[in-house]
């Protein structure tokens, strides 16, 4: 990948070693991830929209679950990944973690927005309302604002390192919201029903509905990881591009002056 020698003036050469390895490994992994994701998605779509049975009380509307629940899991699982990246960024100052966190937040904001949108489309026919301010819905809205805030904050500074640090601090403060999202349905009365799959006893979902849900969850997770990896690759290459351009500008200045 890095065929040219690093230009002079570019400090922290040792830190580029790991991003280089990341680019190599992710480049090998990405086609397989994407292929597997699309394959699972095709299977999940046919199973979820056509082959799976309706629910005894919700009827066909239960098919919204096959997209809503994976989006909710990804919104929370993705935020957990952001928390891990933020700790790595703050404690070990690893630049790859900075780039990955910065590229993760727009994707996280997207899946959280999709979770809210599909939840709204599900709530209207089932509960009789698009939106209520109960603890679950409100805490997921807060999660969305955290994702958007992180995406904006990391891009708000001229110095990308400073933006990354501010974003990491915001992400870690926002981590308190994660258990609130997860346990709000158990701690307080909410309109939203409690968890079905991750119960301590058997999941309250018949296997004919559970299996397509798990296939779709796997499909969207693979697509999410593929998107995040590809975005991080793009971020790294844009960073390298900027460094090369700056080095070229400095060289031109030196030769001209």
């Amino acid at each position: 990948m890095s065929s040219t020698t690093a230009p002079r003036g570019m400090a922290r050469l040792h830190l580029l070693a790991n991003p280089g390895r990341f680019l190599r490994v992710s480049g090998l992994l990405l086609p397989w991830l994407t292929g597997a994701g699309l394959l699972c998605l095709a299977l999940g779509m046919v199973w979820g929209l056509w082959l799976s049975p309706p629910d005894w009380q919700q009827g066909e509307t239960v098919r919204i679950m096959y997209v809503h629940v994976p989006m909710a899991w990804l919104a929370m699982g993705g935020y957990l990944a952001l928390v891990v990246l933020s700790v790595i960024s703050l404690v070990w100052r690893h630049p790859l973690a900075d780039v990955a966190a910065r590229e993760l937040s727009p994707i996280g904001a997207m899946v959280t927005a999709l979770c809210l949108a599909t939840g709204s489309l599900w709530g209207r026919p089932m509960w009789g309302t698009w939106w209520v301010w109960d603890a679950r819905l409100t805490s997921v809205l807060v999660l969305f604002f955290l994702w958007v805030g992180h995406a904006a904050l990391t891009r708000a500074f001229d110095d990308p390192d400073r933006g990354a640090r501010m974003g990491a601090i915001l992400a870690l403060i926002g981590a308190v919201n994660l258990p609130i999202v997860k346990f709000s349905v158990d701690w307080w009365n909410t309109l939203h029903q409690p968890a079905s799959v991750t119960r301590l006893d058997a999941p309250g979902i018949h296997v004919d509905i559970l299996y397509p849900l798990l296939v779709n969850a796997l499909a969207f997770s693979l697509c999410f990881v593929a998107l995040a990896l590809a975005a991080t690759r793009a971020g790294l290459q844009e960073r390298r591009l900027r460094a090369l351009q700056m080095a070229a500008a400095r060289r031109a200045e030196r030769e001209g002056g």
Binding site: W127, L172, Q193, P203
Partner: protein, 168 residues
Amino acid sequence: MTRKRRRLYILLLCGIGLGTATALTLTAFQDNLVFFRSPSDILAEAPPPGRDFRLGGLVEAGSVQRSTGPDGRPHVTFRVTDGQHSIPVQFSGVLPDLFREGQGVVTLGRLGPGNVFLAREVLARHDENYMPPEVADALRRAGHWDPARGDPPPASGWNRLDPRRSGG
């Protein structure tokens, strides 16, 4: 090495502080975070008269009476129960599709004369159990479950039932 370890410890300390503060705040505001209150809550501590609040629970079996009000709108009375106590509810308007006896509901309104809850809005609250209609029918026919009386039996008893065999 020591600088990294120090940063890690500072981070952990901040995390513990933040977590404790959040837990204390949430405990303090517990009453404002609940979306609805159960009939037992209401009877134990009546809300101030004339104040809107949300009442939630199950629609009591055999309590639903539908009629047409003087304004031509559908009128319904039912009782909301939490197993221990129940409160009568009056509502004029369109009910959500899921409304039935044994269904969870959350109603918004206020207490009227005679401790009757005058609802302005009725939302359905479905449970966290999902099963094909054939499986639900089989459970009902076998006498394992009456949906009008609440939740289905433990999921391990039905979540692998074959709907084709039980549907026959």
